[in-house]
Symmetry: C2
Subunit: 304 residues, 2 copies
């Protein structure tokens, strides 16, 4: 049996309901998402967490795909599930898939965007093509030793589509529609690459991860100040270097020295409180698109 072209994952986090709802509707109504002739598999990443309306049961599934965890003997629910997803859908698995698209939502005002992990040529080719078609911003996550083990890194090519703002546990028609459009753009790009008809852009705009900031904490480890209201909803926007990061309960602004070209993302994402991330800082860069990116993706899609 030939491998699937694409694995689409929804519900990697169980309180992000919009992608699972889209996948369920798509199952009942196959014309809902245009696949451009690709052979697509879909799966709920963490069905137990979805049933419980919680991000995870024992640990974050989307931080569980590290080699030492996958090869270890940990029995936490998400480690067992990560190994199962690999066994089923990774290259060499029962129903192997070439590319993975992992659908997420966020409480931050990220709009519809792509997250790329590292600089694999095939990922960059796909992201560049989707940016060309829909104009989506790209968050390049790299060089962050505290946040590792993402699902998409275990496939030869994979992106996250991240859509927000939407509270955890809430279904919103606009979020579902943005997710659907992002997914269709990925399919269109992959089909075009496979058929040799993809028109790569000359450049892509990347927001490269530079670090994360937490709120100040008191002796009990609780936040002693909150994110400054002027930063709420400022994802993807350049920040005035003199803008305070935080504000105290009595209105006193915190002190902050930003680098002059800081662009925050994931501002006040609910799930990152426990990760001690009030926001992440990126640097906006314009990259020339390399011709070998598309070649790498085409080889992956056309391999027999």
């Amino acid at each position: 049996m030939s491998p699937f072209d694409v694995l689409v994952v929804g519900g990697t986090h169980g309180n992000e309901l919009n992608a699972p709802w889209l996948l369920q509707q798509w199952t009942q109504q196959p014309e809902l998402v245009t696949t451009h002739g690709l052979k697509v598999q879909q799966v709920i990443g963490n069905p137990e967490a979805l049933a419980a309306n919680r991000r995870y049961i024992d640990r974050d599934l989307n931080r569980s795909f590290r080699n030492e965890l996958l090869e270890g003997d940990g029995e936490e629910q998400e480690l067992v599930r990560a190994r199962e997803l690999m066994r089923l859908y990774a290259p060499g698995g029962l129903d192997p898939c070439r590319v993975v698209i992992d659908l997420h939502s966020t409480t931050a005002a990220m709009g519809n965007c792509l997250v790329v992990y590292g600089r694999r040529p095939s990922d960059l080719a796909l992201a560049a093509l989707v940016q060309r078609s829909l104009g989506l911003p790209i968050y390049l996550h790299e060089g962050d030793a505290k946040q590792t083990g993402f699902l998409v890194e275990r496939w030869p090519c994979g992106l996250v589509i991240e859509v927000g703002p939407v509270p955890q546990g809430v279904l919103k028609a606009r979020i579902v529609e943005q997710t659907r459009l992002g997914l269709e753009a990925c399919f269109a790009a992959l089909a075009a690459v496979r058929s040799g008809q993809a028109r790569m852009p000359k450049v892509m705009v990347v927001h490269r991860h530079r670090g994360s900031r937490d709120l100040p904490r008191d002796q009990l480890d609780a936040p002693s100040q909150l994110l400054h209201p002027a930063l709420e909803g400022c994802d993807w926007q350049s920040i005035n270097p003199s803008q305070p990061l935080t504000v105290a309960a009595d209105g006193t602004p915190g002190v902050e020295a930003w680098c002059s070209d800081a662009v925050p993302v994931f501002v006040n994402e609910a799930a990152y409180v426990e990760k001690r991330i009030a926001l992440s800082i990126t640097q906006r860069e314009v990259w020339p698109v390399q011709s070998d990116w598309c070649i790498a993706l085409r080889e992956l899609l056309c391999a027999v």
Copy 2:
């Protein structure tokens, strides 16, 4: 020992973080909230749920104050806690409080508002005075057999201050500040009533509960359509009677016949998904303020 004038409760729902944070900051910084000479007690409603960042552990604490539950032998965590809060702070308890203010937040775009349960004169007096000072809208919850057992109903006078939108599990400085302002307005009103200097408005605007609507469900009880995007954020706004309530995944609008004066509240509140409430419908009414309301509240506050 004389009773406390006011019990302030935060964290009745454990994933509504803003009020507990305000109370914690207030403890460290007593001048943060002006109490106008009132004797105030504060408490975290559901500390176990707050620690777990969940609405509740076993059942909704704010639906657990029904007589038959309080007097029964149920051992769910929230029933035990409800009895404990009564034993500690209700009239006749160890540290009795005359009035309770229960601080909540919502994922719906409710702004800063008051929720009144039923038509007790002292509640209406307090709500009318706070509406006079801050202009807050009032949701009068009554005649809803499916939603009963609210905390504030167990004290002789009590209101909910409800602030949104904010996702569950997220701290926002603006939400904290709105909560603080609402709480101070309650204190100012109560102090004015006790001293006989309260100036009651002639009328108050009430949004009276008329019913709730759920999304259509499929055979597996999952939503088969979502709330129509035109209704997102439309809390407190009159709805065109021809406005569809829902939309299908493919964009097909649902059919809906609204009454001509429907005003929705709690539109797409995350916590109400399990209660099968996509939104509630209210009717906007202008009520003359009765002179006996203020008298009832004054008697409560001045009783020895």
